[in-house]
């Protein structure tokens, strides 16, 4: 069998790739895709903990279901906001949307 550490290291790699993407990319859509990667890493962690460590409790699996649900809502809403920003400012780059910056 595969030890749990393998899955945890895989999800760490995926999460740090997401961190890199969120910090380095400029377009809001690309940042959203990196956030999806980070959410996937979290889901892997939840399920790994659920099936390895606490198989009597289902909390990990149920939380993974909720993560997927909330991610779907988040993508829909965030893309609507990005579309709105694009319509108002003719750009979707996050560093050019600086109205609140003094």
């Amino acid at each position: 069998m595969i030890p749990i550490q393998h899955f945890l290291v895989l999800s760490s790699i995926l999460f740090s790739l997401g961190i890199y993407g969120v910090l380095a990319r400029r377009s809001a859509v690309l940042i959203l895709m990196s956030i999806e990667l980070m959410l996937q890493a979290v889901s892997i962690n939840f399920i790994a903990f659920a099936v390895y460590l606490y198989p009597k409790e289902f909390s990990g699996l149920i939380f993974a279901i909720f993560v997927i649900t909330i991610a779907a809502a988040e993508v829909g809403l965030a893309l609507a906001i990005v579309l709105r920003i694009f319509r108002n400012k003719a750009t979707a780059n996050v560093d050019e949307v600086d109205v609140l910056k003094w």
Binding site: M1, I2, I4, Q5, H6, L8, V9, L10, S12, I13, L14, F15, S16, L17, I19, Y20, G21, L23, A24, R25, R26, S27, V29, L30, L32, M33, S34, E36, L37, Q40, S43, I47, A50, V51, Y52, L53, Y54, P55, F58, L61, I62, A64, I65, I68, T69, A71, A72, A73, V75, G76, L77, L79, A80, I81, V82, L83, R84, F86, A92, N93
Partner: protein
């Protein structure tokens, strides 16, 4: 090396490759296609963890809906036509932060003492999961459906714009 390990390393390599493609691709559409690869590979990881239901949900929601939504947003915001839309000047700091997080978390994973069984998967029955979800987690489940409804209505209102615009 057992066949399970071979499959795991193949799927893990595919996941990491997809993730690298998402954050490093110079073409945004390629980036989205790499995202599909990464998401499908994560679904395979879920199957290796014996969570078939979540793998199916993953393929349906992420592989289908979310990536299509992201491609639509790319088309509508014309990311492709933006020169220099890809990476900001903060790239080295981003790489530093990501590497620091990776080092810390791998160190934590390797040095931690895990309670219980860390070598064997206990397969969780599908029907048990549904039973638990609708008995013990019924209220959060309903709240999640409410969140989805509110988010969809909000998205429609935001994307439609004001009257007479």
């Amino acid at each position: 090396m057992s066949y399970e390990e071979v499959i795991f390393y193949f799927v893990a390599a595919l996941t990491v490759l997809g993730g690298l493609g998402v954050v490093l691709a110079r073409n945004v559409v390629h980036s989205a296609l790499f995202l599909i690869v990464a998401l499908l590979a994560v679904a395979a990881v879920f199957i290796l963890l014996s969570a078939e239901f979540l793998a199916i949900v993953q393929i349906l929601i992420y592989g289908g809906a979310v990536t299509i939504l992201i491609l639509f947003a790319m088309m509508l915001t014309r990311v492709r036509d933006m020169p220099g839309a890809l990476d900001g000047p903060q790239r080295p700091f981003a790489a530093l932060a990501a590497a620091a997080f990776l080092g810390l978390s791998v160190l934590a994973v390797v040095s931690a003492e895990w309670p219980g069984e860390t070598e064997k998967i206990t397969v969780i029955e599908f029907s048990d999961l549904g039973d638990k979800l609708f008995r013990n987690w019924a209220a959060p489940f309903e709240v999640a459906s409410l969140v989805l409804l509110v988010a969809l209505i909000g998205a429609i209102i935001l994307a439609r714009g004001e009257e007479g615009e």
